[in-house]
């Protein structure tokens, strides 16, 4: 029993980390209608830039600056390419982001090489805590803290600011918002940048845990998509809930039936979609009902 409790606690931590990626995906989709297949690639960019900055400036600054640079790259791509494609047909963005993911991965390979870059947990975050017999590392507690802060900030932005008001209105009925004389374009760019920054933060905090290598985003982004679908497209709380749920289900599966670890996530998705096609907390969205 103790091991199950330990796995559940650990699963919550792992899940919140996935949530960061999923939340960015969900945000970008709900306002712009863009299914960002290059999300994992931006996650990788975030990690690579952090490794590079860490060499020059140390970890705290690398952690702070990398998401900003990555978001700026995201803004450039949104303004130059995505904006035009969405205007024509949002389906085009699927093709574009698919290609973009490959281009980014190959660019990382060209610049930094195929070999993974060694990158370890910074000195100040090393060590472990044993609380009531349960083991957790300081670094993962740090991750939990970062995710909680990021999630709270995003929530405040969406729910306590005029910006958030426009985003929400634009999500549920872009036509009406436009007819009120509000230009949604800069808002869409800003939301895209926030989503990319969240992916980059996830990349930065994963750099010391997993390998920093060109294809690092490929596996992770699949989990993020599954979480978005389970939680319900565009649902803030749904994404959070689904992230934690996937983390816990995976941890428990590893304890009971290790070979099914990956399959557990998909089984959960199938179950949820059968019982509730729009996901756990997904709202009916006008543009999805057409």
């Amino acid at each position: 029993m103790a091991i199950l409790i330990e796995q559940i606690i650990n699963g919550v931590i792992v899940g919140t980390y996935f949530t960061l990626l999923a939340l960015g995906l969900s945000l970008i989709f709900s306002l712009g209608g863009i299914v960002n297949l290059a999300h994992g690639a931006f996650y990788a960019i975030g990690a690579y830039i952090a490794v590079e900055l860490d060499r020059q400036l140390g970890y705290p600054l690398a952690f702070a600056i990398s998401p900003v640079i990555t978001a700026l790259i995201g803004i450039a791509i949104e303004v130059v390419f995505l904006r035009r494609l969405v205007a024509r047909d949002p389906v085009l963005t699927l093709l574009f982001t698919f290609g973009l993911a490959i281009i980014i991965e190959e660019s990382l390979r060209l610049i930094w090489g195929a070999t993974g870059l060694p990158f370890s947990i910074p000195e100040m975050f090393r060590g472990i805590q044993v609380i009531g017999g349960f083991l957790v590392t300081n670094y993962r507690l740090g991750i939990l803290g970062v995710v909680v802060v990021a999630v709270v900030l995003v929530w405040l932005l969406l729910n306590r600011t005029n910006f958030g008001l426009i985003v929400k209105a634009g999500t549920s009925d872009p036509e009406i918002v436009r007819s009120l004389g509000i230009n949604l374009r800069p808002i869409q760019t800003a939301v895209f940048a926030i989503g990319i920054a969240l992916a980059a933060i996830a990349g930065v905090i994963s750099a010391p845990l997993a390998g920093v290598q060109p294809a690092m985003g490929t596996e992770v982004v699949t989990a993020a998509f599954v979480i978005v679908v389970i939680g319900g497209l565009g649902s803030f709380w749904g994404t959070l809930l689904a992230g934690v749920l996937v983390g816990v289900v995976r941890g428990v599966t590893i304890t009971v039936l290790p070979p099914a670890a990956d399959a557990s996530m998909y089984a959960l998705m199938i179950l949820v979609l059968l019982l509730r096609p729009r996901g756990l907390l997904g709202e009916e969205m006008e543009k999805l009902e057409q």
Binding site: T115, P118, I128, T137, L209, P214, A215, P258
Partner: protein, 420 residues
């Protein structure tokens, strides 16, 4: 209009025929030269993406370097080698590419691969096309045993070689008898094969298995497994993981600071470099490591470092060595026909494999018999650079011992060569 069109076409056709005739006459004059200038095509297949993609890149880079060396050296009797490289992706895709390489491109032989599942598919497709295939990176014993075939040769070591190299050393250190080990295994053909081989060896030596988890490939969070390991308090954690999974596990295992010694049934230097020296510990085995003191390997190390910016590692060694073995076969037999090359390889020809002793293929399972090495993770204080991560403890088999000492016996891994 129609008339004039057909007239023009006829004119063109006539012109074409005349040109053809001229070409035919000319070629009669110089058939030897034309033939000599024709390159010998070789096909290279390996994963360039996914969890084995980093290794694949090293393999292909080394194969390209070997081709350039051979061509700069005059090629094979004046004929250049042309390497046609493809991303093998997965078994189904690889099979199609084998057919294309052989039937459309006309390659004389195939080489490469890392994944045992894909190597099996390539080996079968090569046999169907009666074409030589040299495996440079797939470890599964089954490829040399129940799935062996006459057209497939193995430069990469098999799982039993890896297991016995580190295993003999561990037995001598008294690490096995009565010990409790926790096994983590990659959940695909390679891992299943290595799990069977390594656990058989461990149990034969009196060990007790206290944990045995199959892990999906490309896993990026190992915390759940590490928490399970902690509950079992093993004497050793034994990794049968491949590719980037090695890197990820090593980093996260160090994060949790459990301190149980690490070892494993396979070690890819590249994945250990990626993890960084401070995340490494324990004794491992290596098929080839650039720290091995051997003058024959100096040019290979120097040229690779100059060209690609890092030292070569075991996968680069595999593809580089295989290319030179094929070249030696082509040169010595004077033929590009697979049956001739196979006869030459089966005949016990010796190859410089950049180790202290030369290697040769064992006739009944087509495994390249060669030295391996026990290595220990270096004290960070003594490391010269980010690639200097191991001390070489000893070659296995040692001096004076037969090369097949670490090989599976015919009873352990019987092979009945399929012809087609």
């Amino acid at each position: 209009m129609t008339c004039s069109n057909s007239y023009t076409r006829r004119r063109v056709l006539q012109g074409g025929a005349a040109a053809g005739a001229v070409a035919a006459t000319t070629s009669i004059g110089f058939p030897q030269i034309l033939k000599a200038a024709e390159p010998i095509k070789l096909g290279h297949l390996t994963p360039r993406t996914g969890f084995l993609g980093q290794l694949g890149e090293y393999g292909l880079n080394a194969a390209r370097m070997a081709v350039d060396e051979i061509n700069a050296d005059g090629g094979i009797d004046g004929r250049k080698i042309e390497l046609i490289a493809e991303d093998s992706v997965k078994p189904g895709v690889a099979v199609n590419k084998v057919d294309q390489l052989i039937n459309r491109e006309g390659v004389s032989a195939l080489m490469g691969e890392i994944s045992s599942s894909t190597a099996l598919a390539i080996g079968e497709a090569a046999m169907r096309n009666q074409t030589l295939y040299i495996n440079t990176g797939a470890n599964s014993d089954a490829l040399r045993g129940q799935n062996c075939n006459r057209f497939m040769f193995h430069v990469e070591g098999c799982n039993t070689m890896y297991t016995k190299t580190i295993g003999q050393w561990q037995v001598n250190q008294g690490l096995m008898d009565g010990a409790k080990w926790y096994f983590l295994t990659a959940d695909y053909a390679f891992g299943h094969d290595l799990r069977r081989v390594s656990q058989r060896f461990f149990k034969d030596q009196g060990g007790e298995i206290v944990g045995d988890d199959l892990v999906p490939t490309g896993t990026n969070d190992y915390s759940s497994y590490i928490l399970k390991i902690r509950r079992e308090q093993p004497d050793m954690v034994y990794l049968n993981l491949a590719g980037t999974d090695q890197t990820t596990f090593l980093k996260q295992y160090n994060e949790y600071g459990l301190g149980y010694p690490l070892s494993g049934g396979v070690m890819d230097t590249l994945q250990f470099w990626s993890a960084g020296l401070e995340n490494l510990s324990g004794h491992w085995q290596s098929l080839w490591y650039h720290g091995i003191d051997n003058p024959a390997a100096d040019a290979f190390k120097r040229n690779f470092q100059e060209r690609y910016g890092t030292p070569p590692e075991n996968q680069a060694w595999g593809d580089y060595t295989a290319m030179h073995i094929i070249a030696q076969g082509l040169r010595e037999t004077g033929s590009t026909k697979s049956p001739d090359l196979i006869d030459y390889f089966e005949g016990g020809a010796e190859f410089d494999v950049l180790k202290r002793r030369p290697g040769h293929f064992r006739k009944w399972d087509h495994q390249l018999l060669q030295e391996m090495y026990v290595v220990e993770v270096k004290d960070p204080a003594q490391s010269q650079n980010e690639w200097d991560i191991f001390n070489v403890v000893q070659p296995v088999p040692g001096d004076g011992e037969p090369l097949d000492k670490i090989q599976p016996t015919q009873e352990e891994n019987a092979c009945e060569m399929q012809q087609a």
